[in-house]
């Protein structure tokens, strides 16, 4: 009997191939959307990590307590040696010194008078050493709106909007007025090599990017830096790995009674990032849930229609002496079979597509003309373990549920009524 039904299932494409295709498409979309959203969320987190928190970050204890003030008098000293030892001890990640500083940018006219002035937030990172890691990480290359990346000492990048406000152009000289590590006043001349767009208004309003060595020179911070950021070499934040490195580092280097001793924190300990992580988890959860629900309704309907279409057949089988329960059960088995085959096919396709987009990314540069540092134009999917099973919810559960619900019609209708469908 089972073989008989199976034969029919295989021969009737409307009953097998079509539902399998519908299920597979739904599952494909679910799996792909899941990986896509996860990827976009991850990218969001990574972007913040690239600019602000790193996957891991080392500051002095005192600096970390007051970090919003950019207290460079509390900076890490002997930072070159520390960075070197980090790079050799914790090779799962790359370690980079950065300096964050505040100050004023002064633009002088031809006679030395101040032509324009504005408060500035500055980041000193490795731009000209020849190691292009940081340049790549911050997506600088494609974010340059005019001019070029700094090529030699004394050259800086300035945010586009800030440059417009100050009415400066590529090639103009500006003076940074700030304070040295020791609290003295610092004045340092820079040449604008290029303008960039960050894509977030708080940074676009007034930010400069200088080479690390320049920043150290300007602020009297030889062999010192505000922070050392670490990035896991996989490119993605892994909390477990970060936590392990953090514990190990703090054990070795950090002394609780020494406020100048370095201390490491990881991305998920940053308040905002923790929120973002939680939020992104929730957001993609909701999105996926909504999508699964929508898919479920579609597949449910397909199950329903598939069942309705066959009321005639059911009528005949009842006349032949099958009980309603038997028919209902055979419908159930059929939908389980269709659901499983469709879900497996859809999951495989979805994973394949996700893998492609994870590996190569989708470049939306055509649509988004203005690539900025915070919003790169290439998006990546990200396959998580959930992608392997999430398709079963719409694929199997909804298909079977839809069939079962349509099957209730078998019970609800009088036998003679089902039978009437035969005559139609």
């Amino acid at each position: 009997m089972i073989r008989f039904l199976f034969k029919g299932l295989l021969r009737d494409r409307q009953r097998s191939l079509l539902p399998v295709i519908i299920v597979a498409s739904g599952v494909f979309l679910t799996v792909f959307l899941h990986s896509w959203l996860t990827g976009v969320m991850q990218d969001g987190i990574e972007l913040n990590a690239r600019f602000i928190t790193g996957h891991m970050k080392i500051m002095t204890r005192a600096y970390s307590l007051d970090k919003d003030q950019l207290p460079n008098d509390l900076a890490i000293t002997g930072s070159n040696e520390l960075t070197d030892s980090l790079n050799s001890r914790f090779q799962e990640a790359g370690w980079y010194q950065r300096i964050r500083f505040g100050g004023l940018i002064d633009v002088s006219g031809s006679n030395g008078e101040t032509r324009a002035q504005g408060p500035v937030f500055g980041i000193g990172i490795d731009l000209i050493s020849g190691n292009r890691e940081e340049i790549k990480r911050l997506n600088l290359e494609t974010s340059v709106k005019s001019g070029h990346l700094p090529r030699k000492a004394g050259e800086i990048l300035i945010s586009n909007e800030f440059a417009n406000k100050l009415k400066v152009r590529v090639g103009d000289k500006v003076t940074l007025i700030g304070s040295t590590m020791n609290g003295a006043m610092a004045m340092y001349n820079f040449t604008i090599a290029g303008t960039v767009e960050f894509g977030t208004s708080s940074l676009d309003r007034g930010t400069i990017l200088t080479d690390l060595i320049d920043a150290q020179a300007a602020l009297d911070m030889e062999d010192a830096c505000s922070e050392i950021v670490g990035y896991q070499k996989t490119g993605y934040y892994d909390d477990e790995l970060a936590s392990g490195i953090e514990d190990c580092f703090n054990e070795l280097y950090s002394k609780e009674d020494d406020e100048f001793s370095p201390v490491m924190s990881r991305l998920s300990e940053d308040n905002q990032m923790a929120q973002l992580l939680a939020y992104s988890g929730k957001f993609s959860g909701i999105m996926i849930a909504v999508f699964i629900l929508a898919m479920s309704v579609v597949l449910w309907n397909a199950g329903l229609l598939g069942g309705l279409r066959r009321y005639g057949e059911f009528g005949l089988r009842l006349a032949m002496g099958e009980s309603k329960g038997q028919i209902y059960r055979s419908q159930f088995y059929e939908s389980v079979m269709v659901g499983i085959i469709g879900t497996i096919a859809g999951t495989i396709l979805g994973l394949a597509a996700s893998w492609y987009v994870e590996t190569y990314g989708i470049n939306l540069g055509g649509i988004m003309k203005n690539a900025t540092m915070m919003f790169p134009s290439t998006f990546h999917a990200r396959i998580t373990p959930a992608a392997f099973y999430i398709g079963f919810i719409p694929g199997l559960v909804s298909t079977v549920l839809g069939t079962m619900l349509s099957g209730i019609g078998i019970y609800k209708r009088k036998t003679s009524q089902l039978f009437k469908e035969l005559e139609a």
Binding site: G8, G312, A319
Partner: protein, 227 residues
Amino acid sequence: MISESIITIKGLTKDFPVGSGYFRALNEVNLEFGRGEFAGLIGPSGSGKTTLLNIIGSLDTPTKGEVIVLGKDISHLNSQESASLRKEKLGFIFQSYNLLPVYTVYENVEFPLLLLNLPETERKKMVMEALEWVGLTQKVKSRPSMLSGGECQRVAIARAMVKKPIIVLADEPTANLDAENSHHILRTMATLNQELNTTFIFATHDEKVISYLKRRITLADGSLVSA
């Protein structure tokens, strides 16, 4: 006159709910059928023929009255009991053949035997025998879509007869057939009636069918006119 009563109908009334009231499709019908009858319910459209046939076939239940088929009271069967009555003792033939399109002639005829859980060798013997009755042994592998209307109805007869049921209920079996095919299948059924002593009950207003009947039961507006 009736040797062995296998269907007894007493005071059968069937009402269908229509809007807030009901429509009386059968009104106080009393009837009896014996083993081996070749009988027909005749009457104009809407007179209640199909309704009566469905109740005899335990596909529908009486509103009032008693219908005993092969010792079973139709009103008191649950869905499983009525299914097994149909499975073991009854055969159905329909106006529109109702073959399962994805199965071959052989498989369509085999279907009722699968429900009875008969072993494969026995099934094969019975299917081939049934196809022989209707003269379709050459078409075992054909799909219904490849057959003519007459051939389809012959497959349907083979399907109804393959398990050698005690009663065959045939609702307008010739309505979709031309004269020649109608006579062909009627002769086949008359022969089977003789050879296997199967009781045939038709619902029809086809003169050709009526001419073959040994007993004519006339219905009008749900009431028995003559039996």
